[in-house]
C-alpha cells in the first residue's frame, strides 16, 4: 500500500496550566493515518482531543512530541509547513466567525490566491466564479456580505474558500453541527460530490455518530486524549469492541429503538 497522504505519528500535546493551574495533557501518543481518497472519521466528546489533533495536522498547534508526515515526509520547518498548508485545508465549525463580516464573499474567496501568489489578479474573479459554481452558489454571491447569507450558504462559502488552493486534503471540523437537518444533508451531499470530483481525502470530525457513519470509510474513536478504537466504519459501528464506543452508540437517539 502507498504511504499515507497525511500521518500523525505518536502525537503528545501538553498545554501549560493557566495562572499556575495544572498542565493538561490533551493528547497522549495519538497516531492517525489518512490514505489518499478516503474519509477518516474522528469521533469523541468535548475534551477528547480531536480538534487539537486536527490543529496539529495543519501546523497551527505544535505537538509536544511526535511528528506529522505528509506523503511520507516529516513536516518540520516553516517552509515545509507553508507548502503543506496549500495541500491541507481546514474548514471551521462556525462559518460566520470564520468569515470576515465586512469583506464581500468574492474578496474572501480570492484572498487565499493572493496570499499564496497563485494566479494573476485579473484571473481571480473568474476563479472565484468557477468555485462558487462548484459549491452550488450563484455567481452573484461574490458581491454579498456574510451577514446576507443563510447558515448553509455560509458553510458552502467556507468550503469554497478552503478549495481555492486546490488542496488534496480537507479537514472538516464539526462543519455541519450548527446546521438544520435539511441543510446539513445538502452540505454532506455536496462534500461527497466534491470529494469524488476533486479526489479529496477527508478528515471528518464530529460528535454526531450518525453523520460520521454516513461519511466515513474508517473511524477513529477518541477519549481523553487517547484513541480507544479504530477500524472500518462497518466494524466500529456494527461490532464495537470498546465499552466507550458502545456507550456512545447507545447514547445516540434512534427513532427505530424500542421506547424505554
Amino acid at each position: 500500500m502507498n504511504a499515507p497522504i497525511l500521518h500523525a505519528v505518536a502525537i503528545e500535546k501538553v498545554f501549560a496550566g493557566r495562572r499556575g493551574g495544572a498542565a493538561v495533557q490533551a493528547l497522549k501518543g495519538v497516531s492517525a493515518v489518512l490514505h489518499a481518497g478516503e474519509t477518516l472519521g474522528l469521533v469523541g466528546e468535548s475534551g477528547s482531543g480531536k480538534t487539537t489533533l486536527a490543529r496539529i495536522l495543519i501546523g497551527i498547534e505544535q505537538p509536544t512530541a511526535g511528528e506529522v508526515r505528509f506523503r511520507g515526509r516529516p513536516v518540520r520547518s516553516r517552509a515545509e509547513w507553508r507548502a503543506v498548508r496549500r495541500e491541507v485545508q481546514y474548514v471551521f465549525q462556525d462559518p460566520f466567525t470564520a468569515l470576515c463580516p465586512t469583506m464581500p464573499i468574492g474578496a474572501a474567496l480570492a484572498e487565499p490566491l493572493a496570499i499564496h501568489r497563485l494566479c494573476p489578479p485579473a484571473e481571480r474573479p473568474g476563479q472565484v466564479e468557477r468555485m462558487l459554481g462548484l459549491v452550488g452558489l450563484d455567481p452573484g454571491m461574490a458581491r454579498r456580505l456574510p451577514s446576507q447569507l443563510s447558515g448553509g450558504q455560509r458553510q458552502r462559502v467556507n468550503l469554497a474558500r478552503a478549495l481555492m488552493l486546490e488542496p488534496k486534503v480537507l479537514i472538516c471540523d464539526e462543519i455541519v453541527s450548527g446546521l438544520d437537518v435539511s441543510v446539513q444533508a445538502q452540505v454532506l451531499a455536496l462534500l461527497v460530490e466534491l470529494q469524488r470530483k476533486l479526489g479529496l481525502s477527508l478528515i471528518f470530525i464530529s460528535h454526531d455518530l450518525r453523520v460520521i457513519r454516513y461519511m466515513s470509510d474508517r473511524v477513529q474513536v477518541m477519549l481523553l486524549g487517547e484513541t480507544v478504537e479504530e477500524g472500518s466504519a462497518a466494524e466500529v459501528f456494527d461490532a464495537p469492541r470498546h465499552s466507550y464506543t458502545r456507550a456512545l452508540l447507545a447514547a445516540i437517539p434512534d427513532r427505530n429503538r424500542a421506547p424505554a
Binding site: D180, S182, Q184, H207, R213, P253, R257
Partner: protein
Amino acid sequence: MSGPLVRAEGLTVAFPGRDGPRPAVDGVSLVLERGQSLVIAGESGSGKSLLCRTLLGIQPETAAVSGRLEWKGRSLIGLTEAEWRPLRGGSIAMVFQDPTAALNPLLTVGRQIMDAVRAHRRCSGAEARARAIEVLGLAGLPEPERRLASYPFELSGGMRQRVAIALALSAGPELIIADEATTNLDVSIQAQIVNLLIRLRRELGLALIFVTHDLDLAAEVGGELMVIYAGQPVETGEVRQVLADPCHPYTRGLLRSAPTLRSTRAEPLRPIPGQAPRLGTVGAGAPFRDRCSVVVEGLCALRRPGWTEAGPGHRVACHRFARDGRAGLP
C-alpha cells in the same frame, strides 16, 4: 380540576412588517394535558422558540399575539406583568438551550436557586436552602449540598444544565418547557439530560414541552409530536406513529435528510431542496409549497390546507394527502 393545562387555538404571533403583520407563529392549535409530553419539532425559523416564549409571556415586545391561549382555562393573552409573575416559574418554567447564559456567573448556584424559591413563596432562608438542596437532588446533581457554594464556571456543561433544570423546578411548576435544552451537549450528556426530563415527568407528574430539531430525539422523549414549518403545524400525532408513518412531505423530507446509525453513502441522503422561507413571507397557501415535489396545482399556492385525519390522533395539513392519501406522497 378538569380541563387541559394548556389550550391554544389559532395562536398567531406576528411582527410588524412593511406590508402588514408578518406572522412567525401562524395559527397554532394545541392541547396539553397535565403530566403529558408534547414534542415540537422544526428547523430554525420555524417559530418553535417564539411559540415557547409566548407560552411564558416573554416574546419580544414588538410581537402581536392573537388567537386563543389558555392556562387551565384562563386566557394568557394580554396579561399584565404582575399577572404573569406568579405564573412564570411558579406554574410554567423554561429550560433554555445555553445554561451558561441562563445562569448568573456572579452568584453561587445555591443563591440563584434560593432567590427563585423566595420569589414565589414566603419562607425562611433555611427553608429556601432546604428546597434548593431538594431540587438539585431531583435534577440529579451528586452531593447537592456541596453544590450550593459552587459558581457556574466551576461546573461542566452537563452539570450547568442540571442546575438550570433545578432552577426551573424550584417553584414547583406544573409545566416545563425545554427549548433545545440538550442541543449543545455531548451525546452521552444529552442522553442523561433527556432521561432526567422523562423521569421528572413521570415522577413529579410534570407536563413537558420538548422543543428539538432532531426527530430521533423526539422519538426518545415520546408523547405527542407537532412538526412545525414556517410557523405552521403541518403534522401532529403520537411521536412513534408519526415517525413510522409520516404523511406530510416535509416530515418525510426531514426523515430522509437525517442520517441514522445505519446510514451509509450506499444509500445517499436525500436533502430537501431550497431553504425555509423568510419570516412571515408564506402568505396564503401551503407553507411548504416552494420546496415540495407533489404540489397540487392551483391549490397549494392559494389556500392553506386544513387538517386531514391520517390515523387515530394523527393529522396532516396537506392538500396532496387530502386528495390522494398515502399514494400521492413523495
